[in-house]
Symmetry: C2
Subunit: 287 residues, 2 copies
């Protein structure tokens, strides 16, 4: 009975209504104008921005990067298992110089909007999936889609008002805080060097432990758009194409958990934030 059920599931997910088919390449090159090179004392990190979900946030963030705005700023709010947040000194002239952004925590979609399906009836959403290698969720009744708060995403911090984000941003460094979905603007994700994000100095300590000296907070050496990095210094990453039939088959296999290791089958469930997306590093272009 269980086997029949699993086969049915597999068949269902091999041909999802949201399937693509046109683009079956295994890897996707990043658009270097939407890719960020973040240099930290502990190593280099590459971030892919998501202009199709958060165009105004990506534009403002990119403009700030071009102005070297983030160079020498600190990760001043770093809570293990939650977020690593950076930005200029609160209330400084630099801080106040930046325009507020209208929230872009979700976007309107039509019924024809394509994505690679991962899970129906996820705890926090009607459906989850991937859109161009970004973990996301949808509510088709409301006609909305949003990027989910998985580990490694970058999102803009804000005050209590929806439209109050400026330049302060955070990386998610722990179990996905999905309750922030749809009320915080996720605008990219780490595609390389996540271990260096995990090594950012925590600023919060437990009761009874010594406070961390702000001088020891992790400082951003530099942030650059990859398109503006000298060719010889560029770090070129390609990411798994989540629209491909190969990727969809990998999801099916992951769900079915075949193999002797699974002596007892787990439920045929996938957490969209627990599916590792592959990256690969490619040689520097010599063109």
């Amino acid at each position: 009975m269980i086997k029949i059920f699993l086969v049915c599931c597999a068949l269902f997910f091999i041909y999802p209504s949201e399937s693509y088919g046109a683009d079956d390449s295994l890897w996707r090159k990043l658009d270097l104008t939407n890719t960020v090179l973040l240099s930290l004392p502990q190593g280099k990190v590459v971030i892919e921005l998501a202009p199709s979900f958060a165009p105004k946030h990506v534009t403002q963030f990119s403009q700030l990067i071009k102005q070297d705005f983030y160079n020498s700023t600190k990760f001043y709010r770093v809570i293990d298992g939650f977020v690593a947040q950076a930005g200029p000194q609160d209330g400084s002239d630099k801080d106040k110089s930046v325009d507020t952004l209208a929230i872009e925590a979700e976007k309107s979609i039509t019924k024809e909007w394509l994505f690679t399906s991962v899970q129906d009836k996820d705890l926090f959403a009607e459906k989850t999936g991937f859109k161009n290698s970004f973990a996301m969720a949808t509510n088709t009744l409301e006609g909305k889609a949003w990027l989910t708060h998985c580990p490694g995403v970058i999102a803009m911090a804000r005050g209590n008002e929806a439209d109050s984000a400026t330049s302060h941003f955070y990386f998610v460094i722990g179990q996905a805080p999905r309750y922030l979905d749809r009320i915080m603007t996720v605008f990219g994700r780490v595609v390389y060097g996540m271990q260096h994000i995990q090594a950012i100095q925590r600023t919060a300590v437990i009761a009874g432990d010594n406070a961390i000296d702000p001088q020891d907070f992790t400082t951003i050496i530099s942030m650059q758009l990859m398109s503006e990095v000298a060719k010889a210094e560029q770090l070129l990453i390609e990411v798994e194409n989540t629209n491909s039939s190969v990727f969809i088959e990998r999801l099916n296999k992951r769900r079915a958990r075949e193999g002797a290791f699974f002596y007892k089958k787990p439920p045929p469930i996938l957490d969209v934030c627990q599916i590792p997306l592959r990256s690969r590093r490619v040689k520097i272009s010599t063109m």
Copy 2:
């Protein structure tokens, strides 16, 4: 309407059927014979063991620790966002010297078994909750409870056979791999120094990147039962008592997401692996 719904939820969860009531202290001292001090080059980590869920694993692990078995062993399989695994050289005499363990990935419970309820119809379980500050799940029909694979848990690795674990263990360092629930024996969790676990050298690299020299793998300086550590060197941790009414109220508040920041309410859902449990450090006992 939404307000009424939330109030109903709150009322429901303030008086869960699984409530305690007898022990309302906010903090719980750890039993030092079931507490481990792990010294890594980057800092000290404290682990609470869970003999009530995995008695044989805890006994064997504790005995190995007493023999200094893990001192100088390496984290040889460290995958960012997944696990950091350590143990002796595969196939070495030391490795083969350890008895295999019968799996203890779940335990039988009666209907009267008490725990602090967190979420019904979790993606991977009928119910989730906390039992003595350990995140867990139950299936009441099957009469089973198990520790969930949340970030920070320690579990024993194994081969394909259920009863093949020996001494190799892993910490979960990324989004909860809940598909391992009930088929891998979780036997404790990190209660202090998780940032040092997150800083363990990754051993897996992406295609196109240079391999990591095994000489750079993170080495365990020492592992000791806290009860065997000299008093002056003990690191004494207390953890939040998840059986208390104060904690249950904190869960309710976390679910309700009151406060101006939540200009739009998230679903009244809690992921048992996304609830931070507080620890505090207490002064060295002078008794």
